[in-house]
Symmetry: C2
Subunit: 324 residues, 2 copies
Protein backbone atom coordinates (compact mmCIF):
# COMPACT_ATOMS: atom_id res chain seq x y z
CA UNK A 1 0.00 0.00 0.00
CA UNK A 2 1.18 3.48 -0.88
CA UNK A 3 0.84 6.34 1.60
CA UNK A 4 -0.39 9.77 0.62
CA UNK A 5 3.20 10.99 0.54
CA UNK A 6 4.28 8.15 -1.76
CA UNK A 7 1.44 8.90 -4.15
CA UNK A 8 2.11 12.64 -4.14
CA UNK A 9 5.71 11.88 -5.10
CA UNK A 10 4.59 9.53 -7.87
CA UNK A 11 2.31 12.18 -9.35
CA UNK A 12 5.14 14.70 -9.22
CA UNK A 13 7.39 12.27 -11.08
CA UNK A 14 4.72 11.57 -13.69
CA UNK A 15 4.35 15.28 -14.42
CA UNK A 16 8.10 15.86 -14.39
CA UNK A 17 8.36 13.28 -17.19
CA UNK A 18 5.84 15.10 -19.40
CA UNK A 19 7.28 17.81 -21.62
CA UNK A 20 5.16 20.52 -23.19
CA UNK A 21 7.67 22.17 -25.49
CA UNK A 22 5.91 21.69 -28.83
CA UNK A 23 5.32 24.26 -31.54
CA UNK A 24 3.74 26.72 -31.95
CA UNK A 25 5.32 27.97 -28.71
CA UNK A 26 2.47 30.39 -28.08
CA UNK A 27 0.17 27.39 -27.73
CA UNK A 28 2.42 25.11 -25.65
CA UNK A 29 4.15 27.58 -23.31
CA UNK A 30 0.95 28.45 -21.43
CA UNK A 31 0.24 24.72 -21.08
CA UNK A 32 3.68 24.14 -19.59
CA UNK A 33 3.28 27.20 -17.36
CA UNK A 34 -0.01 25.83 -16.06
CA UNK A 35 0.97 22.19 -15.58
CA UNK A 36 4.56 22.60 -14.41
CA UNK A 37 4.01 24.10 -11.00
CA UNK A 38 1.49 21.78 -9.61
CA UNK A 39 -1.00 22.78 -7.02
CA UNK A 40 -2.18 20.06 -4.65
CA UNK A 41 -2.84 17.45 -7.35
CA UNK A 42 -5.50 15.84 -5.19
CA UNK A 43 -7.38 14.31 -8.13
CA UNK A 44 -4.55 12.22 -9.60
CA UNK A 45 -3.54 11.19 -6.08
CA UNK A 46 -7.10 9.98 -5.43
CA UNK A 47 -7.07 8.06 -8.70
CA UNK A 48 -3.85 6.24 -7.85
CA UNK A 49 -5.07 5.55 -4.31
CA UNK A 50 -8.23 3.93 -5.69
CA UNK A 51 -6.28 1.76 -8.13
CA UNK A 52 -4.01 0.74 -5.27
CA UNK A 53 -6.97 0.01 -2.97
CA UNK A 54 -8.22 -2.64 -5.37
CA UNK A 55 -4.80 -4.25 -5.62
CA UNK A 56 -3.78 -3.21 -9.13
CA UNK A 57 -0.39 -1.77 -10.09
CA UNK A 58 -0.67 2.02 -9.79
CA UNK A 59 1.31 2.39 -13.04
CA UNK A 60 -1.88 1.27 -14.80
CA UNK A 61 -3.42 4.58 -13.74
CA UNK A 62 -0.35 6.68 -14.56
CA UNK A 63 -1.67 8.39 -17.69
CA UNK A 64 -5.21 8.57 -16.39
CA UNK A 65 -3.79 10.48 -13.42
CA UNK A 66 -1.95 12.90 -15.69
CA UNK A 67 -5.07 13.19 -17.86
CA UNK A 68 -7.46 14.09 -15.05
CA UNK A 69 -5.10 16.72 -13.65
CA UNK A 70 -4.61 18.17 -17.14
CA UNK A 71 -8.38 18.37 -17.52
CA UNK A 72 -8.74 20.00 -14.08
CA UNK A 73 -6.17 22.62 -15.00
CA UNK A 74 -7.98 23.30 -18.28
CA UNK A 75 -11.14 24.10 -16.31
CA UNK A 76 -9.21 26.42 -13.96
CA UNK A 77 -7.62 28.18 -16.93
CA UNK A 78 -10.98 28.88 -18.61
CA UNK A 79 -12.71 29.66 -15.28
CA UNK A 80 -10.03 32.22 -14.44
CA UNK A 81 -10.72 33.96 -17.74
CA UNK A 82 -14.51 33.83 -17.28
CA UNK A 83 -14.23 35.05 -13.67
CA UNK A 84 -11.47 37.56 -14.53
CA UNK A 85 -9.27 36.17 -11.72
CA UNK A 86 -5.82 37.77 -11.90
CA UNK A 87 -3.87 35.29 -9.74
CA UNK A 88 -3.71 31.49 -9.51
CA UNK A 89 -1.23 29.71 -7.22
CA UNK A 90 0.57 32.97 -6.60
CA UNK A 91 1.22 33.64 -10.29
CA UNK A 92 -0.58 35.69 -12.94
CA UNK A 93 -3.31 33.70 -14.66
CA UNK A 94 -2.77 32.78 -18.33
CA UNK A 95 -5.18 35.34 -19.77
CA UNK A 96 -3.36 38.04 -17.78
CA UNK A 97 0.18 36.90 -18.54
CA UNK A 98 -0.60 36.31 -22.23
CA UNK A 99 -4.06 37.23 -23.52
CA UNK A 100 -7.69 36.08 -23.44
CA UNK A 101 -7.25 34.41 -26.84
CA UNK A 102 -4.20 32.51 -25.59
CA UNK A 103 -6.20 31.36 -22.56
CA UNK A 104 -9.08 30.17 -24.75
CA UNK A 105 -6.91 28.24 -27.19
CA UNK A 106 -4.37 26.73 -24.80
CA UNK A 107 -7.28 25.72 -22.55
CA UNK A 108 -8.95 24.00 -25.51
CA UNK A 109 -5.70 22.20 -26.23
CA UNK A 110 -5.43 21.02 -22.60
CA UNK A 111 -8.99 19.68 -22.75
CA UNK A 112 -7.96 17.64 -25.79
CA UNK A 113 -4.60 16.68 -24.26
CA UNK A 114 -6.45 15.09 -21.32
CA UNK A 115 -8.02 12.67 -23.81
CA UNK A 116 -4.61 11.92 -25.31
CA UNK A 117 -3.43 10.79 -21.89
CA UNK A 118 -6.47 8.64 -21.23
CA UNK A 119 -6.01 6.99 -24.62
CA UNK A 120 -2.37 6.13 -23.89
CA UNK A 121 -3.15 3.12 -21.72
CA UNK A 122 -5.14 0.32 -23.33
CA UNK A 123 -7.29 -1.39 -20.69
CA UNK A 124 -10.17 -3.87 -20.91
CA UNK A 125 -12.42 -1.27 -19.26
CA UNK A 126 -11.13 1.76 -21.23
CA UNK A 127 -14.48 2.40 -22.90
CA UNK A 128 -16.17 2.66 -19.49
CA UNK A 129 -13.35 4.87 -18.21
CA UNK A 130 -13.73 7.27 -21.12
CA UNK A 131 -17.50 7.41 -20.67
CA UNK A 132 -17.11 8.30 -16.99
CA UNK A 133 -14.60 10.99 -17.93
CA UNK A 134 -16.84 12.41 -20.67
CA UNK A 135 -19.95 12.49 -18.46
CA UNK A 136 -18.01 14.18 -15.68
CA UNK A 137 -16.48 16.75 -18.04
CA UNK A 138 -19.92 17.73 -19.23
CA UNK A 139 -21.25 17.97 -15.68
CA UNK A 140 -18.42 20.34 -14.77
CA UNK A 141 -19.42 22.66 -17.63
CA UNK A 142 -22.98 22.54 -16.27
CA UNK A 143 -21.72 23.39 -12.78
CA UNK A 144 -19.74 26.36 -14.04
CA UNK A 145 -22.80 27.63 -15.93
CA UNK A 146 -25.00 27.33 -12.81
CA UNK A 147 -22.35 29.19 -10.84
CA UNK A 148 -22.41 32.03 -13.37
CA UNK A 149 -26.23 31.97 -13.50
CA UNK A 150 -26.44 32.22 -9.71
CA UNK A 151 -24.47 35.48 -9.77
CA UNK A 152 -27.46 37.08 -11.48
CA UNK A 153 -30.03 35.68 -9.03
CA UNK A 154 -31.10 36.54 -5.48
CA UNK A 155 -33.35 33.52 -4.93
CA UNK A 156 -30.91 30.59 -5.09
CA UNK A 157 -32.05 27.76 -2.81
CA UNK A 158 -29.75 25.57 -0.71
CA UNK A 159 -30.69 22.54 -2.82
CA UNK A 160 -29.68 24.39 -5.99
CA UNK A 161 -26.44 25.51 -4.40
CA UNK A 162 -25.63 21.94 -3.33
CA UNK A 163 -26.33 20.69 -6.85
CA UNK A 164 -24.06 23.41 -8.27
CA UNK A 165 -21.10 22.47 -6.07
CA UNK A 166 -21.76 18.79 -6.74
CA UNK A 167 -21.36 19.47 -10.46
CA UNK A 168 -18.61 22.05 -10.28
CA UNK A 169 -16.40 20.39 -7.67
CA UNK A 170 -17.55 17.03 -6.32
CA UNK A 171 -18.03 14.99 -9.50
CA UNK A 172 -14.37 15.32 -10.50
CA UNK A 173 -13.24 13.82 -7.19
CA UNK A 174 -15.83 11.05 -7.64
CA UNK A 175 -14.64 10.58 -11.24
CA UNK A 176 -10.98 10.32 -10.21
CA UNK A 177 -11.81 7.60 -7.67
CA UNK A 178 -14.21 5.77 -9.98
CA UNK A 179 -11.70 5.66 -12.81
CA UNK A 180 -9.01 4.52 -10.38
CA UNK A 181 -11.36 1.73 -9.28
CA UNK A 182 -12.05 0.80 -12.92
CA UNK A 183 -8.31 0.53 -13.55
CA UNK A 184 -8.27 -1.71 -10.47
CA UNK A 185 -11.13 -3.73 -11.96
CA UNK A 186 -13.37 -3.27 -8.91
CA UNK A 187 -16.91 -4.67 -8.72
CA UNK A 188 -19.90 -2.50 -9.67
CA UNK A 189 -20.92 -2.22 -6.02
CA UNK A 190 -17.50 -1.03 -4.88
CA UNK A 191 -17.32 1.40 -7.79
CA UNK A 192 -20.60 2.97 -6.70
CA UNK A 193 -19.38 3.18 -3.09
CA UNK A 194 -16.08 4.81 -3.95
CA UNK A 195 -17.86 7.26 -6.26
CA UNK A 196 -20.20 8.24 -3.43
CA UNK A 197 -17.20 8.60 -1.13
CA UNK A 198 -15.69 11.03 -3.65
CA UNK A 199 -18.90 13.01 -4.16
CA UNK A 200 -19.42 13.47 -0.42
CA UNK A 201 -15.76 14.29 0.07
CA UNK A 202 -16.05 16.96 -2.64
CA UNK A 203 -19.21 18.47 -1.15
CA UNK A 204 -17.71 18.57 2.34
CA UNK A 205 -14.49 20.02 0.94
CA UNK A 206 -16.31 22.84 -0.88
CA UNK A 207 -18.51 23.65 2.14
CA UNK A 208 -15.37 23.68 4.29
CA UNK A 209 -13.93 26.18 1.80
CA UNK A 210 -17.00 28.39 2.24
CA UNK A 211 -16.59 28.16 6.02
CA UNK A 212 -12.86 28.87 5.99
CA UNK A 213 -13.30 31.85 3.72
CA UNK A 214 -15.44 33.48 6.41
CA UNK A 215 -13.94 32.05 9.58
CA UNK A 216 -10.50 30.72 8.66
CA UNK A 217 -7.25 31.82 10.21
CA UNK A 218 -5.47 33.67 7.43
CA UNK A 219 -2.15 32.14 8.55
CA UNK A 220 -3.23 28.52 8.27
CA UNK A 221 -5.76 28.93 5.44
CA UNK A 222 -3.25 30.83 3.32
CA UNK A 223 -5.68 33.32 1.84
CA UNK A 224 -7.37 36.46 3.03
CA UNK A 225 -10.60 35.77 4.88
CA UNK A 226 -13.94 37.33 4.02
CA UNK A 227 -13.23 37.47 0.28
CA UNK A 228 -16.54 35.75 -0.58
CA UNK A 229 -18.35 38.47 1.40
CA UNK A 230 -16.28 41.21 -0.21
CA UNK A 231 -17.00 39.76 -3.69
CA UNK A 232 -20.74 39.29 -2.95
CA UNK A 233 -20.42 35.56 -3.65
CA UNK A 234 -23.43 33.44 -2.84
CA UNK A 235 -22.12 30.66 -0.63
CA UNK A 236 -23.86 28.20 1.67
CA UNK A 237 -23.43 30.70 4.51
CA UNK A 238 -25.31 33.51 2.80
CA UNK A 239 -28.07 31.38 1.31
CA UNK A 240 -28.69 29.64 4.63
CA UNK A 241 -28.56 32.96 6.51
CA UNK A 242 -31.16 34.48 4.18
CA UNK A 243 -33.40 31.44 4.74
CA UNK A 244 -33.09 31.75 8.50
CA UNK A 245 -33.05 35.54 8.90
CA UNK A 246 -35.75 37.88 10.14
CA UNK A 247 -37.15 40.20 7.52
CA UNK A 248 -34.98 43.10 8.64
CA UNK A 249 -31.84 40.94 8.73
CA UNK A 250 -32.63 39.56 5.26
CA UNK A 251 -33.07 43.04 3.84
CA UNK A 252 -29.82 44.17 5.42
CA UNK A 253 -27.92 41.13 4.04
CA UNK A 254 -29.30 41.66 0.54
CA UNK A 255 -28.36 45.32 0.79
CA UNK A 256 -24.84 44.55 2.01
CA UNK A 257 -24.36 41.97 -0.75
CA UNK A 258 -25.26 44.54 -3.39
CA UNK A 259 -22.42 46.91 -2.48
CA UNK A 260 -18.68 46.76 -3.11
CA UNK A 261 -17.11 49.40 -0.86
CA UNK A 262 -13.42 50.28 -1.31
CA UNK A 263 -12.76 49.31 2.32
CA UNK A 264 -15.00 46.34 3.04
CA UNK A 265 -13.88 45.66 6.64
CA UNK A 266 -17.07 47.04 8.14
CA UNK A 267 -19.19 45.15 5.63
CA UNK A 268 -17.44 41.86 6.46
CA UNK A 269 -17.82 42.52 10.20
CA UNK A 270 -21.51 43.34 9.91
CA UNK A 271 -22.25 40.25 7.78
CA UNK A 272 -20.38 37.99 10.21
CA UNK A 273 -22.34 39.55 13.09
CA UNK A 274 -25.59 38.54 11.41
CA UNK A 275 -24.25 35.04 10.65
CA UNK A 276 -23.21 34.69 14.31
CA UNK A 277 -26.58 35.95 15.52
CA UNK A 278 -28.26 33.24 13.45
CA UNK A 279 -25.87 30.43 14.36
CA UNK A 280 -24.95 29.90 10.72
CA UNK A 281 -21.45 28.69 11.47
CA UNK A 282 -22.62 25.89 13.75
CA UNK A 283 -25.30 24.84 11.26
CA UNK A 284 -22.71 24.56 8.49
CA UNK A 285 -20.28 22.68 10.74
CA UNK A 286 -23.01 20.12 11.50
CA UNK A 287 -23.81 19.85 7.79
CA UNK A 288 -20.15 19.25 6.92
CA UNK A 289 -19.82 16.62 9.67
CA UNK A 290 -22.95 14.84 8.35
CA UNK A 291 -21.64 14.73 4.82
CA UNK A 292 -18.19 13.68 6.00
CA UNK A 293 -19.71 10.81 7.97
CA UNK A 294 -21.65 9.75 4.91
CA UNK A 295 -18.38 9.73 2.93
CA UNK A 296 -16.64 7.60 5.55
CA UNK A 297 -19.59 5.15 5.71
CA UNK A 298 -19.25 4.58 1.96
CA UNK A 299 -15.51 4.01 2.30
CA UNK A 300 -16.12 1.61 5.20
CA UNK A 301 -18.59 -0.42 3.12
CA UNK A 302 -16.13 -1.12 0.29
CA UNK A 303 -15.33 -4.85 0.24
CA UNK A 304 -11.61 -4.51 0.87
CA UNK A 305 -9.71 -5.08 4.12
CA UNK A 306 -9.92 -2.11 6.41
CA UNK A 307 -6.16 -1.50 6.56
CA UNK A 308 -6.08 -1.02 2.78
CA UNK A 309 -8.29 2.05 3.22
CA UNK A 310 -5.82 3.98 5.37
CA UNK A 311 -4.52 6.20 2.60
CA UNK A 312 -7.98 7.28 1.45
CA UNK A 313 -8.96 7.87 5.08
CA UNK A 314 -5.83 9.98 5.51
CA UNK A 315 -6.68 12.07 2.42
CA UNK A 316 -10.28 12.54 3.61
CA UNK A 317 -9.06 13.81 6.98
CA UNK A 318 -6.50 16.07 5.36
CA UNK A 319 -9.11 17.65 3.12
CA UNK A 320 -11.69 18.10 5.84
CA UNK A 321 -9.69 19.00 8.92
CA UNK A 322 -7.87 22.01 7.66
CA UNK A 323 -7.76 24.47 10.56
CA UNK A 324 -10.59 26.89 11.10
CA UNK B 1 -23.80 3.25 -52.94
CA UNK B 2 -25.16 6.49 -51.62
CA UNK B 3 -24.98 9.69 -53.65
CA UNK B 4 -23.92 13.00 -52.16
CA UNK B 5 -27.57 14.01 -51.93
CA UNK B 6 -28.50 10.81 -50.06
CA UNK B 7 -25.70 11.36 -47.57
CA UNK B 8 -26.56 15.03 -47.04
CA UNK B 9 -30.10 13.94 -46.22
CA UNK B 10 -28.85 11.28 -43.80
CA UNK B 11 -26.71 13.80 -41.96
CA UNK B 12 -29.67 16.16 -41.73
CA UNK B 13 -31.79 13.38 -40.26
CA UNK B 14 -29.08 12.46 -37.78
CA UNK B 15 -28.90 16.01 -36.49
CA UNK B 16 -32.68 16.41 -36.46
CA UNK B 17 -32.79 13.44 -34.07
CA UNK B 18 -30.37 15.05 -31.61
CA UNK B 19 -31.94 17.32 -29.04
CA UNK B 20 -29.96 19.90 -27.08
CA UNK B 21 -32.54 21.06 -24.58
CA UNK B 22 -30.74 20.20 -21.33
CA UNK B 23 -30.26 22.38 -18.28
CA UNK B 24 -28.80 24.84 -17.50
CA UNK B 25 -30.46 26.45 -20.52
CA UNK B 26 -27.75 29.08 -20.79
CA UNK B 27 -25.30 26.28 -21.57
CA UNK B 28 -27.42 24.23 -23.96
CA UNK B 29 -29.29 26.91 -25.91
CA UNK B 30 -26.15 28.21 -27.64
CA UNK B 31 -25.25 24.61 -28.54
CA UNK B 32 -28.66 24.07 -30.09
CA UNK B 33 -28.43 27.44 -31.85
CA UNK B 34 -25.07 26.45 -33.35
CA UNK B 35 -25.87 22.87 -34.35
CA UNK B 36 -29.48 23.27 -35.45
CA UNK B 37 -28.99 25.29 -38.59
CA UNK B 38 -26.37 23.31 -40.30
CA UNK B 39 -23.97 24.79 -42.73
CA UNK B 40 -22.67 22.50 -45.47
CA UNK B 41 -21.85 19.58 -43.16
CA UNK B 42 -19.13 18.43 -45.52
CA UNK B 43 -17.14 16.58 -42.83
CA UNK B 44 -19.86 14.16 -41.69
CA UNK B 45 -20.83 13.60 -45.32
CA UNK B 46 -17.22 12.69 -46.13
CA UNK B 47 -17.13 10.31 -43.18
CA UNK B 48 -20.26 8.46 -44.28
CA UNK B 49 -19.02 8.36 -47.88
CA UNK B 50 -15.77 6.73 -46.73
CA UNK B 51 -17.60 4.13 -44.65
CA UNK B 52 -19.83 3.42 -47.62
CA UNK B 53 -16.85 3.19 -50.00
CA UNK B 54 -15.45 0.28 -48.01
CA UNK B 55 -18.78 -1.52 -47.99
CA UNK B 56 -19.84 -1.06 -44.37
CA UNK B 57 -23.28 0.05 -43.24
CA UNK B 58 -23.21 3.86 -42.99
CA UNK B 59 -25.20 3.64 -39.74
CA UNK B 60 -21.95 2.45 -38.13
CA UNK B 61 -20.59 5.96 -38.70
CA UNK B 62 -23.75 7.75 -37.59
CA UNK B 63 -22.51 9.06 -34.24
CA UNK B 64 -18.99 9.60 -35.49
CA UNK B 65 -20.51 11.84 -38.16
CA UNK B 66 -22.48 13.82 -35.57
CA UNK B 67 -19.36 13.94 -33.40
CA UNK B 68 -17.03 15.37 -36.01
CA UNK B 69 -19.53 18.06 -37.03
CA UNK B 70 -20.08 18.96 -33.37
CA UNK B 71 -16.32 19.30 -32.95
CA UNK B 72 -16.06 21.42 -36.11
CA UNK B 73 -18.76 23.74 -34.83
CA UNK B 74 -16.97 24.03 -31.48
CA UNK B 75 -13.87 25.28 -33.32
CA UNK B 76 -15.92 27.80 -35.30
CA UNK B 77 -17.59 29.03 -32.11
CA UNK B 78 -14.27 29.67 -30.34
CA UNK B 79 -12.59 31.00 -33.51
CA UNK B 80 -15.41 33.51 -33.98
CA UNK B 81 -14.80 34.78 -30.45
CA UNK B 82 -11.01 34.92 -30.92
CA UNK B 83 -11.37 36.64 -34.31
CA UNK B 84 -14.25 38.86 -33.10
CA UNK B 85 -16.38 37.77 -36.08
CA UNK B 86 -19.91 39.14 -35.70
CA UNK B 87 -21.75 36.91 -38.19
CA UNK B 88 -21.73 33.18 -38.99
CA UNK B 89 -24.11 31.62 -41.53
CA UNK B 90 -26.09 34.86 -41.67
CA UNK B 91 -26.77 34.93 -37.91
CA UNK B 92 -25.04 36.66 -34.99
CA UNK B 93 -22.20 34.59 -33.56
CA UNK B 94 -22.67 33.13 -30.08
CA UNK B 95 -20.39 35.56 -28.29
CA UNK B 96 -22.36 38.43 -29.86
CA UNK B 97 -25.83 37.02 -29.28
CA UNK B 98 -25.00 35.93 -25.71
CA UNK B 99 -21.59 36.84 -24.27
CA UNK B 100 -17.91 35.89 -24.52
CA UNK B 101 -18.26 33.71 -21.40
CA UNK B 102 -21.19 31.87 -22.93
CA UNK B 103 -19.16 31.29 -26.08
CA UNK B 104 -16.21 29.94 -24.08
CA UNK B 105 -18.27 27.56 -21.97
CA UNK B 106 -20.74 26.30 -24.56
CA UNK B 107 -17.78 25.76 -26.91
CA UNK B 108 -16.02 23.73 -24.22
CA UNK B 109 -19.17 21.67 -23.80
CA UNK B 110 -19.38 21.02 -27.56
CA UNK B 111 -15.77 19.87 -27.59
CA UNK B 112 -16.68 17.35 -24.87
CA UNK B 113 -19.98 16.45 -26.55
CA UNK B 114 -18.07 15.41 -29.66
CA UNK B 115 -16.35 12.73 -27.55
CA UNK B 116 -19.72 11.60 -26.18
CA UNK B 117 -20.86 10.91 -29.74
CA UNK B 118 -17.71 9.04 -30.70
CA UNK B 119 -18.09 6.89 -27.58
CA UNK B 120 -21.68 5.97 -28.43
CA UNK B 121 -20.75 3.36 -31.01
CA UNK B 122 -18.61 0.45 -29.82
CA UNK B 123 -16.40 -0.74 -32.66
CA UNK B 124 -13.40 -3.08 -32.80
CA UNK B 125 -11.28 -0.16 -34.03
CA UNK B 126 -12.72 2.48 -31.66
CA UNK B 127 -9.39 3.04 -29.90
CA UNK B 128 -7.72 3.88 -33.23
CA UNK B 129 -10.66 6.09 -34.20
CA UNK B 130 -10.40 8.07 -30.97
CA UNK B 131 -6.65 8.47 -31.38
CA UNK B 132 -7.09 9.86 -34.89
CA UNK B 133 -9.73 12.25 -33.59
CA UNK B 134 -7.56 13.38 -30.66
CA UNK B 135 -4.46 13.93 -32.82
CA UNK B 136 -6.49 15.91 -35.34
CA UNK B 137 -8.16 18.03 -32.64
CA UNK B 138 -4.76 19.00 -31.31
CA UNK B 139 -3.45 19.82 -34.78
CA UNK B 140 -6.40 22.13 -35.35
CA UNK B 141 -5.51 24.07 -32.18
CA UNK B 142 -1.96 24.34 -33.51
CA UNK B 143 -3.28 25.61 -36.85
CA UNK B 144 -5.40 28.27 -35.18
CA UNK B 145 -2.41 29.40 -33.11
CA UNK B 146 -0.22 29.67 -36.24
CA UNK B 147 -2.98 31.65 -37.92
CA UNK B 148 -3.06 34.10 -34.99
CA UNK B 149 0.76 34.21 -34.87
CA UNK B 150 0.94 35.04 -38.57
CA UNK B 151 -1.20 38.14 -38.03
CA UNK B 152 1.71 39.62 -36.10
CA UNK B 153 4.33 38.73 -38.71
CA UNK B 154 5.33 40.16 -42.08
CA UNK B 155 7.73 37.39 -43.06
CA UNK B 156 5.46 34.34 -43.36
CA UNK B 157 6.72 31.94 -46.02
CA UNK B 158 4.55 29.96 -48.43
CA UNK B 159 5.64 26.69 -46.78
CA UNK B 160 4.56 28.02 -43.37
CA UNK B 161 1.26 29.18 -44.81
CA UNK B 162 0.64 25.77 -46.39
CA UNK B 163 1.42 24.05 -43.07
CA UNK B 164 -0.97 26.40 -41.29
CA UNK B 165 -3.90 25.67 -43.61
CA UNK B 166 -3.04 21.96 -43.50
CA UNK B 167 -3.45 22.06 -39.71
CA UNK B 168 -6.32 24.49 -39.53
CA UNK B 169 -8.46 23.12 -42.35
CA UNK B 170 -7.15 20.06 -44.18
CA UNK B 171 -6.55 17.61 -41.33
CA UNK B 172 -10.22 17.60 -40.30
CA UNK B 173 -11.27 16.54 -43.81
CA UNK B 174 -8.55 13.88 -43.74
CA UNK B 175 -9.69 12.81 -40.27
CA UNK B 176 -13.34 12.52 -41.34
CA UNK B 177 -12.39 10.26 -44.24
CA UNK B 178 -9.88 8.23 -42.22
CA UNK B 179 -12.38 7.58 -39.43
CA UNK B 180 -15.02 6.66 -42.01
CA UNK B 181 -12.53 4.19 -43.50
CA UNK B 182 -11.77 2.78 -40.02
CA UNK B 183 -15.50 2.24 -39.45
CA UNK B 184 -15.44 0.47 -42.82
CA UNK B 185 -12.45 -1.60 -41.63
CA UNK B 186 -10.26 -0.58 -44.57
CA UNK B 187 -6.65 -1.77 -44.97
CA UNK B 188 -3.78 0.40 -43.69
CA UNK B 189 -2.77 1.26 -47.26
CA UNK B 190 -6.25 2.41 -48.21
CA UNK B 191 -6.55 4.40 -44.98
CA UNK B 192 -3.37 6.27 -45.83
CA UNK B 193 -4.59 6.94 -49.37
CA UNK B 194 -7.99 8.26 -48.30
CA UNK B 195 -6.33 10.43 -45.65
CA UNK B 196 -4.06 11.95 -48.29
CA UNK B 197 -7.08 12.46 -50.54
CA UNK B 198 -8.70 14.42 -47.68
CA UNK B 199 -5.60 16.47 -46.89
CA UNK B 200 -5.13 17.49 -50.52
CA UNK B 201 -8.83 18.19 -50.90
CA UNK B 202 -8.65 20.43 -47.83
CA UNK B 203 -5.60 22.31 -49.06
CA UNK B 204 -7.11 22.85 -52.51
CA UNK B 205 -10.41 23.89 -50.92
CA UNK B 206 -8.73 26.50 -48.71
CA UNK B 207 -6.60 27.87 -51.56
CA UNK B 208 -9.75 28.06 -53.68
CA UNK B 209 -11.30 30.06 -50.86
CA UNK B 210 -8.36 32.49 -50.95
CA UNK B 211 -8.79 32.81 -54.72
CA UNK B 212 -12.56 33.29 -54.59
CA UNK B 213 -12.27 35.91 -51.90
CA UNK B 214 -10.22 38.03 -54.29
CA UNK B 215 -11.69 37.02 -57.65
CA UNK B 216 -15.05 35.40 -56.93
CA UNK B 217 -18.36 36.55 -58.31
CA UNK B 218 -20.23 37.85 -55.28
CA UNK B 219 -23.48 36.34 -56.63
CA UNK B 220 -22.20 32.79 -56.90
CA UNK B 221 -19.68 32.89 -54.04
CA UNK B 222 -22.26 34.29 -51.64
CA UNK B 223 -19.99 36.67 -49.82
CA UNK B 224 -18.44 40.03 -50.49
CA UNK B 225 -15.19 39.81 -52.44
CA UNK B 226 -11.93 41.40 -51.34
CA UNK B 227 -12.61 40.94 -47.63
CA UNK B 228 -9.21 39.31 -47.04
CA UNK B 229 -7.57 42.38 -48.59
CA UNK B 230 -9.77 44.74 -46.58
CA UNK B 231 -8.94 42.82 -43.36
CA UNK B 232 -5.19 42.66 -44.15
CA UNK B 233 -5.31 38.88 -44.04
CA UNK B 234 -2.19 37.06 -45.16
CA UNK B 235 -3.35 34.57 -47.75
CA UNK B 236 -1.50 32.59 -50.40
CA UNK B 237 -2.10 35.45 -52.83
CA UNK B 238 -0.35 38.08 -50.72
CA UNK B 239 2.54 35.89 -49.56
CA UNK B 240 3.22 34.70 -53.09
CA UNK B 241 2.89 38.26 -54.45
CA UNK B 242 5.42 39.56 -51.91
CA UNK B 243 7.81 36.76 -52.93
CA UNK B 244 7.46 37.62 -56.61
CA UNK B 245 7.20 41.42 -56.43
CA UNK B 246 9.78 44.06 -57.30
CA UNK B 247 11.04 46.03 -54.35
CA UNK B 248 8.71 48.95 -55.01
CA UNK B 249 5.69 46.64 -55.44
CA UNK B 250 6.60 44.82 -52.22
CA UNK B 251 6.84 48.06 -50.28
CA UNK B 252 3.54 49.24 -51.69
CA UNK B 253 1.83 45.93 -50.80
CA UNK B 254 3.18 46.00 -47.24
CA UNK B 255 2.03 49.60 -46.93
CA UNK B 256 -1.46 48.83 -48.27
CA UNK B 257 -1.74 45.83 -45.91
CA UNK B 258 -0.99 48.02 -42.91
CA UNK B 259 -3.96 50.35 -43.48
CA UNK B 260 -7.68 49.89 -42.88
CA UNK B 261 -9.41 52.75 -44.71
CA UNK B 262 -13.13 53.36 -44.13
CA UNK B 263 -13.77 52.90 -47.86
CA UNK B 264 -11.37 50.20 -49.04
CA UNK B 265 -12.51 49.99 -52.67
CA UNK B 266 -9.40 51.76 -53.96
CA UNK B 267 -7.15 49.63 -51.77
CA UNK B 268 -8.73 46.42 -53.08
CA UNK B 269 -8.42 47.64 -56.67
CA UNK B 270 -4.76 48.61 -56.26
CA UNK B 271 -3.83 45.29 -54.61
CA UNK B 272 -5.60 43.32 -57.36
CA UNK B 273 -3.75 45.38 -59.99
CA UNK B 274 -0.43 44.34 -58.47
CA UNK B 275 -1.57 40.68 -58.24
CA UNK B 276 -2.62 40.83 -61.91
CA UNK B 277 0.67 42.43 -62.92
CA UNK B 278 2.54 39.56 -61.29
CA UNK B 279 0.28 36.78 -62.61
CA UNK B 280 -0.58 35.67 -59.08
CA UNK B 281 -4.03 34.40 -59.98
CA UNK B 282 -2.72 32.04 -62.65
CA UNK B 283 0.04 30.77 -60.36
CA UNK B 284 -2.52 29.94 -57.70
CA UNK B 285 -4.84 28.27 -60.17
CA UNK B 286 -2.00 26.01 -61.31
CA UNK B 287 -1.14 25.23 -57.69
CA UNK B 288 -4.75 24.31 -56.93
CA UNK B 289 -4.96 22.11 -60.03
CA UNK B 290 -1.74 20.32 -59.00
CA UNK B 291 -3.01 19.62 -55.51
CA UNK B 292 -6.41 18.58 -56.83
CA UNK B 293 -4.75 16.12 -59.20
CA UNK B 294 -2.73 14.71 -56.32
CA UNK B 295 -5.99 14.23 -54.37
CA UNK B 296 -7.61 12.42 -57.28
CA UNK B 297 -4.56 10.18 -57.79
CA UNK B 298 -4.84 9.05 -54.17
CA UNK B 299 -8.54 8.34 -54.60
CA UNK B 300 -7.82 6.42 -57.81
CA UNK B 301 -5.25 4.25 -56.02
CA UNK B 302 -7.65 3.01 -53.35
CA UNK B 303 -8.25 -0.71 -53.84
CA UNK B 304 -11.98 -0.48 -54.43
CA UNK B 305 -13.87 -0.69 -57.74
CA UNK B 306 -13.82 2.61 -59.58
CA UNK B 307 -17.61 3.01 -59.64
CA UNK B 308 -17.71 2.95 -55.84
CA UNK B 309 -15.67 6.17 -55.82
CA UNK B 310 -18.23 8.26 -57.69
CA UNK B 311 -19.64 9.98 -54.62
CA UNK B 312 -16.23 11.06 -53.31
CA UNK B 313 -15.30 12.21 -56.82
CA UNK B 314 -18.54 14.19 -56.94
CA UNK B 315 -17.77 15.85 -53.59
CA UNK B 316 -14.22 16.68 -54.68
CA UNK B 317 -15.52 18.36 -57.82
CA UNK B 318 -18.20 20.22 -55.90
CA UNK B 319 -15.65 21.60 -53.44
CA UNK B 320 -13.13 22.58 -56.06
CA UNK B 321 -15.19 23.82 -58.97
CA UNK B 322 -17.16 26.52 -57.27
CA UNK B 323 -17.48 29.39 -59.73
CA UNK B 324 -14.77 31.97 -59.92
Amino acid sequence: MYTFKDLAQKVSQYFAAEVFDGTPHNLYEPIDYTLADGGKRIRPILMLAATDLFGADIETARYGAVGIETFHNFTLLHDDLMDQSPIRRGKPTVYRKWSPNTAILSGDAMNILAWRYFLKTPHPRLHEILQVFEKTSMEICEGQQYDMDFEQRNDVRISEYMEMIRLKTAVLLGCALKIGALYGNATDGDIELIYNFGIKLGLAFQLRDDLLDAYGDVNTFGKQTGTDIRDNKKTYLLIHAIDKASESQRNRLLQLFSTTPENADNKVREVLDIYNDLGIRQDLEYEIADIHNDAIRSLDSISQPDERKNTLREIANMLLNRNV
